[in-house]
């Protein structure tokens, strides 16, 4: 087998970075006075920080092959809950935040129980729980959208500027580093990827698959709670914001799984994908100003990312003669064709 990797520019694994650079170049030439400003950089970074945290929340269970479709509803719930506690119930900031995040962790724990103990398909389970969470949100909010808390500490929580960026950007990066560490540098992450790769093989290797799936869903909802709190502080309470986050988050994670460590969802690939898309959207908005761009862009990105992944798998399948399991021994000896597969760097430790 020619295990030596061909020298390459990494067009494959780093295509997101190239795409990002292309967007920057195109809009820098097209609308330099609007696009090439520190303001644009700061606003894109801050506007996407919440979406990035939600994408990371989606990523954690997805590494273990579990879908969490309740992220949007959980973010919304957290937004309303943290606001209501402060504005309507006069809680101070930190107790309200802690209570909200804990409640969201509880949501995740329940999701996890339904999936692990109840053995309900995660897609269905979290779709259902999303609806229930939305109902709880309406109960919490009452009829009207609550008023935002007035304290300056509350808005400073996310809006304080550091190096020109709103501090939320650094919160997001901190979360990204922690989740990257968890997934790529701890046994927990290894177990989670193993469950996502082949749950039965992982179980037979001694991985407690249920425990890690449960923990991943709990982590996901907790991160959504944090994202919701940040959103409420950044932009004020919203009854509908979270729902709009679901698709961009999945688009970023799937697109990100084609990056850096192809075939595995990963934190930095997700962030690259998210910010590359956001840059493209921002540039086009500066040029045209139409409203439907994000929907169109994110939708197409999701479709093309998944199609690309499928195409690539099939391509690989064609190149490699399938080792037939049911062949009898008379053929087996002649059948092994070591190394027909394409050598490909693929590891968790990028």
């Amino acid at each position: 087998m020619s295990s030596r990797r061909r020298p390459s520019l990494g067009l494959d694994r780093f295509s997101g970075l190239y795409l990002w650079a292309l967007f920057v170049a195109v809009f820098a030439i097209w609308v330099p006075h609007l696009f090439l400003t520190a303001g644009t950089v700061h606003s894109v970074a801050a506007q996407q920080a919440i979406a990035a945290i939600v994408a990371i929340a989606v990523l954690v269970p997805l590494a273990g092959g579990t879908y969490d479709l309740s992220v949007g509803a959980t973010v919304n719930f957290a937004t309303i809950m943290v606001t209501v506690l402060q504005s309507n119930h006069s809680w101070s900031m930190w107790p309200a935040i802690i209570a909200t995040v804990l409640l969201c962790a509880l949501i995740g724990a329940v999701n996890g129980l339904i999936v692990v103990v109840g053995r309900v398909n995660s897609f269905i389970a979290t779709l259902g729980s999303a609806s229930v969470i939305a109902a709880f949100q309406a109960i919490t909010a009452g009829q009207a959208q609550p008023l935002p808390p007035t304290s300056t500490a509350w808005s400073a929580l996310t809006q304080r500027e550091v190096l020109g960026f709103q501090i939320i950007v650094f919160y997001m990066l901190a979360i990204a580093v922690v989740v990257w560490w968890g997934l790529a540098r701890t046994p927990a992450g290894r177990y989670l990827y193993a469950v996502g790769g082949n749950a039965e093989a992982a179980r037979l290797s001694g991985v407690r698959t249920g425990r890690w799936t449960w923990l991943a869903l709990t982590t996901s909802a907790t991160l959504c709670g944090v994202a919701g709190v940040f959103y409420a502080s950044l932009s004020g309470p919203s009854l509908t914001f979270g729902g709009a986050l679901l698709l961009p988050a999945f688009a970023a994670v799937f697109l990100g799984s084609t990056q850096l460590t192809p075939g595995h969802v990963n934190v930095w690939g997700t962030l690259i994908a998210l910010y590359a898309l956001a840059t493209g959207i921002k540039g086009l908005q500066l040029v045209t100003g139409v409203q439907w761009l994000p929907d169109m862009f994110n939708g197409l990105a999701l479709l093309s990312a998944v199609s690309f992944a499928v195409w690539r798998q099939q391509g690989r399948g064609r190149r490699r003669p399938r080792p037939a399991r049911d062949t009898t021994d008379e053929e087996a000896s002649g059948r092994e064709q070591p190394g027909a597969a394409r050598p490909q760097e693929l590891s968790l430790n990028q």
């Binding site: 701890t186 992982a202 080792p323």
Partner: protein, 523 residues
């Protein structure tokens, strides 16, 4: 609701079987080689209309190759000839095989559980429809005819999910014989009873007889000698790619058939060379009266340093034995003790912590995580040594994986970062074996450790298994390859019909002895 033999067999002439009175199948001069391995050598065979023709042979005798040639999957070497109802089969063409009237019922029956009997019958041939709407009355009528043809007394509206295995096989036979799908000259049944419980075999044999009575020739591949005497008119035995004998069943005795199957080795002159006396030590693994799936009762004691083989035909319970010992599946009864401590079933983690390692037979589905790097697969069961909080020591992991790669000669050398899927089957298997050897298990359970592995890798895997036993592990190997077991093990336990029927060791351990114990089933 057992199937019955249909009262009157349809007259073959009335059904307009193509080719007049030519035999259903005539094979002559068939030869096929895979590289240097000759799978079939000058094979000749004739299946008459209305006859059940049994095809027997050990694993590797060429049965599967012959069937795959008939199905148009393999293209034999030039010079051979296959006539189906008098018409020449064009090789390597599945459509041609079907249009000449060949029908196949494989072990995987291809039934859809959620659909009804009638829907399954029409799944392959298309539904009778008018204006795109299925004509249910006509469908049900035709389905009843199809079922009656093979003597199955079934409600065609019944879902397939609730049917017993034998009836399902019968249904697959009925579907293969549907006249709507073209005239049937030859029906090939590939080990139809391999996974059936004893009491259901009888039901299926009635269906096969009814199928032959429709005028088709039936080529019946089996391992079970009793079935040959129950239903076959003629039995052909393949050994090492050659037809050893083709005899009318009434002229046969069981002993003669066994002799034909196993050849001249029957004198047991060459007992296994490696059958060393097992070391004297206390039993590490004790299995008592274990039952799971087709395994009815297995009791076993394995001492430290001992290599014990488990042999048995498909359906003997051998396939589920080691999974049940490990607790990968929930056994229906029995105990497993490691060092006198009972193992709780269904908890692989606890079994591993107790020092048990289990290499499953199905590498892709249960063994490895194909998308993860080889190194990650290798270290998955035990990451403790690599976990220095707050970081997993990836460098140390790579070094350790490389050393295992070189110890087991995994190719490409040092490619520990490659996903497991990128390695060849033999190398994957070495990685998965290394994964368990790394845990230094006290009990090593190996299910088909060299299945689909090339000869070189096979020898290396065997060396490692022997070395593990020398280091004091209690090793149990389950394999369909009797030669492998005899060469490797101190002692071989033979399963038949879910029970251990022989425990061979020392001079009594030989390939023919194991084969005879596995075959001599009295159903």
């Amino acid at each position: 609701m057992g199937p019955r033999l249909s009262a009157g067999a349809t007259d073959s002439a009335a059904r307009g079987i193509p080719g007049g009175r030519a035999p259903a199948l005539e094979v002559s001069g068939l030869r096929m080689a895979f590289g240097p391995t000759v799978a079939l050598d000058d094979v000749a065979l004739t299946v008459e209309r209305g006859q059940v023709h049994a095809l027997l042979g050990e694993n590797g005798s060429g049965k599967s190759t012959l069937i795959k040639i008939l199905a148009g999957y393999h293209r034999p070497d030039p010079g051979g000839r296959v006539l189906v109802a008098g018409r020449a089969l064009s090789f390597g063409n599945p459509v041609n095989a079907a249009s000449l009237g060949c029908r196949f019922v494989h072990q995987d029956l291809g039934l859809v559980d959620t659909l009804s009997v009638a829907e399954n019958l029409f799944l392959t041939s298309g539904f009778p429809a008018r204006w795109g709407t299925i004509r249910w009355a006509r469908l049900l009528r035709a389905a009843r005819d199809d079922l009656a043809r093979v003597g199955l007394d079934l409600d065609p509206r019944q879902p397939v999910a609730g049917l017993s295995p034998a009836v399902r096989t019968g249904l697959a036979v009925a579907r293969a014989l549907r006249p709507g799908a073209g005239n049937v000259a030859l029906l090939v049944l590939d080990e139809p009873t391999a996974t059936l419980p004893d009491d259901e075999v009888r039901q299926l044999l009635a269906t096969v007889r009814a199928a032959a009575a429709t005028g088709a020739g039936v080529l019946y591949v089996t391992h079970h000698l009793d079935e040959v005497f129950d239903i076959a008119d003629v039995a052909t035995v393949l050994r090492d790619g050659r037809v050893v004998a083709s005899s009318a069943v009434p002229d046969l005795t069981r002993t003669r058939l066994v002799n034909q199957l196993l050849g001249s080795e029957l004198d047991e002159a060459h007992a296994s060379s490696q059958a060393l006396p097992p070391p004297r030590a206390n039993a590490v693994l004790r299995v008592h009266d274990l039952a799971a799936g087709q395994l009815r009762s297995l009791s076993l004691q394995v001492r430290a340093g001992e290599l014990v083989g488990i042999a048995g035909l498909t359906g003997s319970g051998r396939e589920s034995a080691l999974a049940a010992v490990f607790g990968a599946v929930h056994p229906e009864g029995g105990d497993v003790l490691v060092d006198s401590t009972p193992l709780r079933p269904g908890h692989p983690r606890r079994a591993i912590d107790a020092g048990v390692a289990y290499l499953p037979a199905d590498r892709k589905a249960h063994g490895g995580i194909m998308s993860l790097p080889a190194a990650a697969n290798l270290t998955l069961p035990d990451l403790r040594a690599l976990w220095r909080p707050p970081m997993l020591r990836l460098g140390a992991e790579r070094v350790e994986a490389r050393s295992w790669f070189s110890r087991l000669d995994v190719r490409p050398a040092g490619a520990v970062h490659l996903p497991l899927a990128a390695l060849s089957g033999g190398n994957q298997q070495k990685v998965l074996l290394a994964k368990w050897l790394r845990c230094r298990p006290r009990v090593l359970l190996l299910d088909e450790p060299t299945q689909g592995v090339d000869i070189g890798a096979k020898a290396q895997i065997h060396q490692r298994i022997v070395a593990a036993a020398d280091d004091g592990a209690a090793v149990v190997v389950s394999s369909a390859d009797v030669d492998e077991l005899v060469a490797l093990c101190h002692r071989v336990v033979v399963l038949r019909g879910g029970h251990a029927v022989a425990d061979l060791s020392g001079p009594a351990l030989s390939v023919p002895a194991v084969n005879r114990a596995a075959l001599a089933a009295e159903r």
